[in-house]
């Protein structure tokens, strides 16, 4: 009996020792393995990023062709066809990534993230989730410091404080800042209202903190003198800030004309005007048949609109069967056009509607990262004449 108990006890001790050894070996072996696995995810993310940024997708011009059924695409890529340098993206393809719930862009023109994931091979075998974020390479902010009285009761912004940060959110000291101010004024004509668009360009160098002040008071004074004797019905100002820092160029539109129920977006030579009719006051809007396209930092192209919305009244936008009105511009909107403006009258007021190309933030993907390990790959890319920060997050869905 004594021998049995001894053997049993020593057996138990042996089991405890070996189990403890296993408990130690398993995580010790899986630690490096998980590290290798993470590195493998980095390699895959790098390959996927190259595929997106360096190949044009197929059909090659899938971005601009609004009649193309995107589910018939056989390859997904954003590179510009005929680009002479790598990491140059096609603006229209980037616009197709815009989320219609966050940006006034027709959902029928947006590419489905599931289609993109399938074309990238992220749905065969092991499933991966991804999220693409595109933001301007320079973080530009502007705030209104002072206003100018154009006519009694009509105030427009005149002094602006601009701050430029680089993509690492550090001050972009000595950045060259150019502000294109666009003033839309509407005066009473004999038969109809007359809308005029004036523009002015001002430049400054940012200080050590990336800040500078732009004052357009003198230009506004000239316009005020020109308006003497005319009955002013509306004035609105938008500024487009263009900044260049160590060769990186970025811009941002600031619309100080709040209260518009209309919003705009653009794809190829088309402009989409969206009327938000979720809450009162309701009413139709009338789009003025003119458009301005900005090629930064100095050029403005002007043209007119051609209605392309079937079965809808031309320039009158109301809460009809279609949420969007589609207009084709008389001029060619190249990738270098950073923003297109349209003026519209709604409920007795005039509004300037910018259509940024592309919007300041694009997020496109299968969902939010939810895995233990997410690989993040970042590149500076060129879209049109400007630079953007392209971020790809990739994760294994099985790790959620």
């Amino acid at each position: 009996m004594q021998v049995s108990l001894d053997t049993l006890f020593s057996g138990l001790v042996l089991i405890v020792v070996v189990s403890s050894l296993f408990a130690f070996i398993y995580p010790a072996a899986y630690g490096p393995l998980s590290s290798t696995s993470e590195h493998e995810l980095e390699e895959l993310a790098n390959t996927v990023l190259d595929k997106i940024l360096l190949t044009p997708g197929y059909p090659n011009g899938w971005g601009a062709d609004i009649l193309l059924n995107l589910s018939s695409m056989t390859s997904f890529g954003l590179a510009k066809e005929g680009a002479h340098s790598p990491f140059e993206l096609d603006l229209d393809k980037v616009m197709r990534l815009a989320n219609s719930s966050e940006f006034p862009f027709p959902a029928t023109l947006s590419l489905s993230p599931t289609t993109a994931a399938t074309l990238l091979g992220l749905r065969s075998g092991e499933r991966y989730g991804f999220m693409i974020t595109i933001t301007p390479a320079l973080n530009i902010t502007a705030s209104l410091l002072s206003t100018f009285t154009l006519a009694p009761g009509y105030l427009v912004g005149s002094v602006f404080d601009i701050q430029v940060l680089n993509y690492a959110r550090r001050p972009a000291a000595n950045a060259e800042v150019t502000v294109l101010s666009i003033l839309t004024v509407v005066t009473c004509g004999q038969d109809a209202d007359i809308s005029m668009i004036n523009s002015s360009s001002s430049s400054a160098i940012a200080d050590w903190s990336g800040r500078c002040t732009i004052d357009i008071t003198s230009w506004l004074t000239v316009i005020k003198n020109e308006l003497t004797g005319k009955e002013l019905k509306k004035s609105t100002i938008s500024i487009v800030v263009f900044a260049e820092y160590v060769g990186i160029r970025a811009s941002r539109v600031f619309d100080f004309d709040l209260g518009s129920r209309l919003s705009g977006s653009s794809l190829g030579n088309y402009i989409f005007i969206c009327l938000e009719e979720d809450q009162p006051p309701y009413g139709a809007a009338h789009v003025i048949n003119a458009t301005e396209a900005l090629v930064l930092p100095h050029y403005i192209l002007t043209g007119y609109l051609i209605n392309e919305t079937r079965g809808q009244s031309g320039l009158v936008v109301n809460a009809g069967s279609k949420k969007y009105r589609v207009y084709r511009t008389s001029m060619t909107l190249t990738d270098e056009v950073s923003v297109a403006f349209v003026v519209a009258k709604s409920l007795g007021h005039y509004f300037s509607i910018p259509s940024p190309r592309p919007p300041d933030l694009i997020r496109f993907g299968t969902g939010q990262p939810s895995a233990m390990k997410t690989s993040v790959q970042t590149r500076i890319v060129k879209i049109g004449a400007l630079h953007y920060l392209f971020e790809l997050e990739l994760w294994r869905e099985g790790e959620s």
Partner: protein, 174 residues
């Protein structure tokens, strides 16, 4: 109650069984870990090859030359856990995949996606040879670990782009 020799025998046999079970468990666990580790390394190799193919495809796309041939030799490990492996391009679910698998056990593999079968860039899976003035490439849709000058290539002939795996041979000029 069993007699003392019988009891001793039973406990000894039990102890031996426990030891055998522990050794078996250890062996299974170490095999699982080794298999996972091998699979991860093979996937990493497949990702690396897929990355180089994607790069060549992008360079080919940006090239303005009419008949362009690009070749890049692969820097692959000689073996994975002391075993040889094969890197090949295969069709899986309507997509081309780079697959790296062990020569001794094809069920241990890693794969990385390339692009759809309907893409305009075709993937050469058959045997053949093409040559330029400086080198020639024997392609077969697969390369083996330890193979000298294992390469990825991309070429566009009369507007038709294609990519593949092969072995580059540099012609020695007298």
């Amino acid at each position: 109650m069993p007699s003392s020799p019988v009891s001793f025998l039973m406990t000894t046999v039990s102890l031996c069984l426990v030891l055998v079970a522990l050794v078996t468990c250890f062996s299974v666990i170490s095999n699982v870990i080794l298999r996972d580790s091998t699979k991860t390394q093979l996937t990493e190799i497949a990702d690396h090859v897929a990355g180089r193919i994607t790069e060549l495809r992008a360079l080919l796309h940006m090239s303005t030359s009419e008949n362009c041939t690009l070749v890049k030799t692969l820097d692959l490990p000689q073996d994975v856990v002391m075993l040889g492996y094969t890197v090949s391009i295969e069709e899986v679910d309507g997509m081309y995949f780079v697959v790296a698998s062990l020569d001794t056990d094809r069920s241990v593999f890693g794969q990385s996606p390339l692009w759809s079968l309907d893409d305009q860039v075709s993937v050469e899976l058959h045997n053949g040879t093409f040559a330029t003035e400086e080198f020639s490439v024997d392609y077969s849709g697969m390369v083996y670990s330890g193979q000298e000058n294992a390469s990825v290539w991309a070429r566009e002939v009369q507007g038709v782009p294609s990519v593949g795996l092969g072995v580059m041979r540099v012609e020695v000029q007298d």
